[in-house]
């Protein structure tokens, strides 16, 4: 036999409700539906006949590693040429001149969308300039 059953059960329910906020909050407020969607941006680039330096899947998963490698190669090794493993095309290792200027001119759509969603803040833009801004 337990004393104050009602109070204890109510307490447990309130505790669980508050404790699980992160799991249900976005479902209730509808934020969960705002999943980043890069497809329109990619489709329009494809329509212009453009392709990225590597395959889309690779870039999705590894773009930060690729950019870090580029950074070290250029800054420390004066090595500016990147030959695509997927397509064999040569590119200039440059975030501003190659990535942003030639294709991804819409940084807010392209970069920020996902970065905001997953709450990462890359420090790139503190120094590297964004074309048209």
């Amino acid at each position: 036999m337990m004393y104050d059953t009602g109070k204890i059960v109510a307490g447990i329910i309130i505790f669980l409700a508050i404790f699980s906020v992160p799991f249900w909050y976005s479902q209730v407020t509808g934020d969960a539906e705002e999943v980043p969607n890069l497809d329109p941006a990619l489709e329009s680039l494809k329509a212009e006949g453009k392709q990225c330096v590597e395959s889309v899947d690779y870039m999705r998963a590894k773009h930060m590693d690729l950019l870090n490698t580029w950074r070290d190669d250029v800054v420390r090794g004066a090595d500016r040429e990147y030959v695509s493993e997927e397509y064999g095309v040569t590119y200039d290792k440059s975030l501003t001149d190659t990535c942003l200027e030639q294709c991804h001119t819409n940084k807010s759509d392209f970069c920020d969308q996902c970065h905001t969603y997953v709450n990462v803040e890359p420090g790139c833009w503190e120094c590297h300039n964004i074309v048209g801004e």
């Binding site: 500016r80 120094c127 300039n129």
Partner: protein
């Protein structure tokens, strides 16, 4: 042979002390920055340097400084304590302090305007002290900054005998127009050290076409009408043709090459022909 417990312990202690000393002295000797003292030819390296001929300088002309500041987004802050300098003008007495005790020279040279910048030393003190190797000496002899790695400790600022390094106490954007003068070159961020980079972002070795010159040299040559009359000359100190040119100027214009604070042992590579 019988070894007593006492003797065994003595021997073991001596042996381990010896091992520690050998290992740590080895680490001390080799633990320095890898490119230090790289005058050896085995790296098949270039050794880029600069000549400055003050007598060719036109009074009041700052084209070289302006070109550098513009192309590298060098901020201009009102407070002199926050000043960022890549290449700037000073007087002989400040650039060559040690010569000020030379009474005969002092008279003539004291207030002569001189251009100063990073000397891209062959034995750079800044590289030696940098705890993250954010500043390093590239194989072609350029002493460069990797701003991504700089933690803002300012050891290099203290180590540099030439005061060629500036620390960003403030966000550089506060001293720049928006957008920045040259959007294709990054600006820096608050909390990193910056300095002249001998225009490492340009194709100075001609890997992708005809070689480009540093912006300051280019600006001076444009002003003077030809590279031959430029007050700033840039080239590879290991290139016999460049040295020949260097020697010809010395001979023709009766000049002697000086380097700043040679006694510091950093092997500076900006030569002043006076």
């Amino acid at each position: 042979m019988e070894v007593s417990r006492r003797e065994f312990l003595k021997l073991a202690g001596l042996a381990s002390a010896g091992a520690v000393v050998t290992a740590s002295s080895g680490a001390l000797l080799t633990g320095c920055s890898p490119l230090i003292g790289m005058e050896d030819e085995s790296l098949n390296a270039k050794n880029m340097g600069m000549l400055f001929i003050p007598s060719r300088c036109e009074e009041g002309c700052h084209d070289c400084i302006d070109a550098c500041n513009k192309m590298h987004n060098v901020p201009k802050h009102d407070n002199k304590d926050h000043e960022i300098k890549w290449i700037w003008e000073t007087e002989f007495q400040h650039a060559f302090t040690e010569y000020m005790e030379n009474e005969l020279l002092k008279e003539r040279m004291e207030h002569m305007p001189f251009l100063v910048m990073c000397n891209h030393c062959a034995n750079p003190a800044c590289v030696r002290v940098c705890p993250t190797q954010a500043t390093f000496r590239r194989k072609d002899g350029l002493v460069l900054m990797d701003y991504h790695r700089c933690i803002g400790c300012r050891f290099c600022v203290a180590a540099c005998p030439y005061g060629a390094r500036s620390f960003n106490f403030k966000d550089p954007q506060k001293g720049l127009q928006n957008p920045v003068p040259n959007p294709n070159f990054p600006k820096r961020t608050k909390g990193v050290v910056e300095k002249c980079n001998f225009c490492s972002e340009r194709d100075i070795h001609g890997q992708f076409g005809s070689p480009e010159l540093p912006y300051c040299v280019e600006a001076c040559a444009n002003k003077k009408g030809s590279l031959g009359e430029s007050a700033l000359i840039f080239g590879d100190l290991k290139d016999p043709e460049f040295i020949e040119q260097f020697e010809k100027i010395q001979k023709d214009e009766k000049l002697i090459p000086l380097r700043r604070k040679e006694i510091a042992g950093t092997q500076p590579k900006v030569y002043y022909l006076v």
